[in-house]
């Protein structure tokens, strides 16, 4: 067990080191052409950009991957999870099965009719849970699922800014009235040419910053054209209210192939847990 944990930690550390290099490689053309970017976007361009981000977060095909979550908790210390994630965006289905650590192996989440259910193998119970925290980490359901920002929020251009060396569009999102969202306002720092968010900040209704997310490593998956996607391979999430808590999410072994419908059922998760 200790060897497995050390292997996963090493894996995450290597990925983190690689992350900066790959990000620089990916953003190199953007840095070169920074001078040519328009300094402001009109409302139509902003809306189009946000809509494109939503589209790019959605897969035409089914998706599955292994995800490592390293939670640094100020009270509980470090925790490491490994899970298998299965997505079927066409039918809005999502299944997460915990593989490690041994104490959590067999635990699973299932999205059914926009509700998140947790399966606890020790008791065999299914409970509807909040989407705010996955297994007590700083991740929430949106970190694993596709986005729907263009429908849930109205967008506004803030400025052309620099994130480190790289030029990014800073877009501010405000929740549309009557829609239940996890954050009332969101700040997005979007890479202009690929339209992916490198930094995300979520705010509460009171204006307090809740969470900052850096998506530092990206990988191109799928064939050239409509089905091609950029996936954030490494995400660093910082809890801005409970300072000191942070989660690193690393995605591995991505596969874009058709999945059986049975994977998105309670029976499948229960069988896997056994």
């Amino acid at each position: 067990m200790i060897r497995q944990v050390l292997y996963i930690r090493k894996h995450i550390r290597n990925n983190i080191t690689l992350a900066r290099l790959l990000l620089m490689f990916l953003l190199f053309p953007v840095a070169v052409t920074a001078n040519t970017l328009p300094t402001s976007l009109n409302q139509t361009e902003v809306n189009t950009l946000v809509k494109k981000m939503d589209e790019l977060s959605r897969f035409e095909t089914d998706f599955n991957a292994e995800i490592f979550l390293q939670q640094k908790h100020r009270e509980k210390g470090d925790l490491l999870y490994k899970m298998a994630v299965f997505r079927q965006d066409q039918s809005n289905h999502l299944t997460m099965l915990f593989l490690k650590p041994k104490t959590d192996a067999g635990k699973g989440y299932l999205v059914l009719d926009k509700n998140l259910f947790l399966y606890t193998p020790n008791t065999g119970d299914w409970t509807r849970v909040s989407e705010d925290r996955i297994s007590g980490t700083d991740t929430n359901l949106a970190d694993f699922d596709d986005w729907n920002l263009s429908e849930e929020y109205s967008a506004e251009f803030v400025a052309l800014e620099k994130l480190g060396e790289f030029p990014v569009y800073h877009i501010a999102l405000t929740a549309r009235p009557g829609i239940q969202v996890k954050a009332q306002r969101i700040g997005l720092w979007i890479e202009p040419s690929k339209s992916f968010a490198l930094k995300v900040q979520e705010y509460a209704q009171s204006g307090r910053l809740l969470r900052t997310t850096y998506r530092t490593k990206w990988r191109k998956v799928g064939d050239e054209g409509e089905t091609q996607r950029f996936i954030p391979m490494e995400t660093r999430i910082y809890d801005e209210v409970e300072k000191g808590n942070q989660t690193i999410m690393v995605i591995d072994k991505i596969a874009l192939r058709q999945l059986s419908k049975e994977i998105f059922t309670k029976a499948w998760l229960e069988a896997k847990s056994r």
């Binding site: 239940q180 969202v181 209210v241």
Partner: protein, 445 residues
């Protein structure tokens, strides 16, 4: 009768050692019974006091709003109309009622965070709560005493009152700023609150509840002042809560409010089931204070259970002891029984003689035990012995040893144990009464 009493009393005096031993045993059992009874009474009092002031009223009317088939929030629309129905329905039986807005969330301190129910209150209207919340008093280096803040701090915006246990867990003191994060009907919201006062714990409820002003929770939940979460109803006689609940349910239904099905359990326990039910919109949920403390009552039941088992064992020992002693006494005094019968005392008289002897022994023992128990309870209560162990404070719902016993309970204990002692002597007394006079006179030890 006076003659019988004199003979019985003299016999008891004559068998000094035996009388002392048995009398002490009866006194000890009575003393133990009163001690255990006072512990469970003290616990129950703390539990009810905490539950009905800090956590709930005598009757609680909570608004539950289902946004969709599986998501439910505590929201009470038309709280003014609900209060009007309550006032009209209960009339003179109503003592007071208060609005509270409650929301569960994570209180985040410098080093730690805890889940708490943050209650938005109007402290001026909360006379029961004011009676229970006492700021912690500390002694300074120069010997002067100082309170950790003031309850009136809630008049200031964005201030909070924390219980001692909570402040210790969060590692905060008066004047420190803490954050409260909660999931509301419209999403996650966070607010910053200044610790205005740290109050003494009121048992287990101190682990879960904390107080701020109503506008803070309204802002946090993004609701206007006419929307709340619950109304706490205080009755003049809290024991009538069950009957008044039925009356209130009928009145609210007649006023076109939809209600959840009544179940005698706390709302916290029933929440998952209610969330799964297939209704939408608002429903009112009504519970009594007994329903809300049902889970905690297990401690009272446990104390009482242990108490009864212990008493049963001790009573059996006493019964055997008394029976055995009276048997011996009958054997020793067989000649005396023969003489008494020979000079005209009937078998009933003999029976009465032994029964009075046992009853006198039991009565004196039980009275001594009862008085010693009452004195002990009074003394311990007067000493106000603090409980330093946090776990014990939580379990016993008190910061100091809290024992309660009523005069009725003392009299009842004396009656029970003197009766048990008398009944234990019945069989050997009947045997003594049936001894033939001639046989008794000729009896050789």
């Amino acid at each position: 009768m006076k003659l019988y009493l004199t003979i019985a009393f003299r016999n008891l005096i004559q068998a000094k050692r035996r009388t002392l031993l048995l009398g002490s045993a009866v006194a000890l059992v009575t003393f133990i019974h009163i001690g255990l009874q006072s512990i469970s009474n003290g616990y129950m009092e703390g539990l009810v006091r905490g539950a009905t002031a800090v956590a709930a009223g005598h009757i609680n009317v909570v608004g539950l709003f289902k946004h969709n088939i599986s998501r439910m929030s505590p929201l009470l629309n038309d709280s003014d109309k609900v209060k009007a129905v309550i006032a009209e329905s209960l009339g003179d039986d109503l003592d007071s009622m208060v609005d509270r807005n409650s929301i569960m969330g994570r209180m985040i301190g410098e080093n730690r965070s805890v889940y708490l129910f943050l209650q938005g209150i109007n402290l001026n209207a909360e006379k029961n709560l004011r009676g229970v919340l006492r700021p912690v008093s500390i002694t300074n280096a120069d010997g002067t005493k100082e309170n950790l803040g003031s309850l009136n701090t809630l008049d200031k915006p964005y201030h909070i009152i924390l219980f001692q246990t909570q402040a210790k867990k969060l590692g905060v003191g008066v004047g420190d700023v803490i954050s409260f994060r909660a999931k509301t009907a419209i999403g996650t919201n966070v607010t910053s609150l200044t610790v205005g006062a740290i109050v003494e714990d009121v048992g287990m409820v101190s682990q879960f509840f904390t107080f701020t002003s109503r506008p803070v929770v309204q802002e946090l939940m993004q609701i206007d002042e006419h929307v709340g979460t619950r109304v706490l109803v205080y009755l003049k006689d809290r024991e009538s809560a069950d009957a008044k609940l039925i009356k209130l349910r009928q009145a609210l239904e007649a006023a076109d409010f939809k209600l959840t099905d009544y179940q005698s359990a706390s709302l916290f326990r029933r929440w998952p089931n209610l969330e799964r039910q297939d209704w939408l919109g608002q429903r009112l949920d009504l519970t009594t204070w007994q329903d809300d403390i049902k889970e905690a009552e297990i401690v009272v039941d446990s104390i009482r259970g242990v108490s009864y088992v212990l008493l049963l064992i001790l009573s059996i020992i006493i019964i055997i002891g008394i029976m055995n002693t009276v048997w011996i006494s009958v054997r020793e005094r067989t000649n005396e029984i023969g003489c008494l019968r020979a000079i005209g005392m009937g078998s009933r008289g003999i029976l009465l003689l032994f029964m009075i002897e046992a009853m006198l022994l039991g009565l004196v023992g039980a009275v001594i035990g009862g008085l010693a128990g009452a004195l002990g309870v009074g003394l311990i209560s007067a000493l106000e012995i603090p409980i330093h162990n946090e776990a014990m404070r939580i379990i016993l719902f008190a910061n100091q040893v809290n024992l309660k016993i009523s005069l009725f309970e003392i009299v009842r204990a004396i009656f029970i144990f003197s009766t048990v002692t008398s009944l234990a002597a019945l069989l050997p007394s009947i045997k003594a009464a049936h001894i033939q006079p001639l046989q008794a006179i000729n009896h050789i030890e």
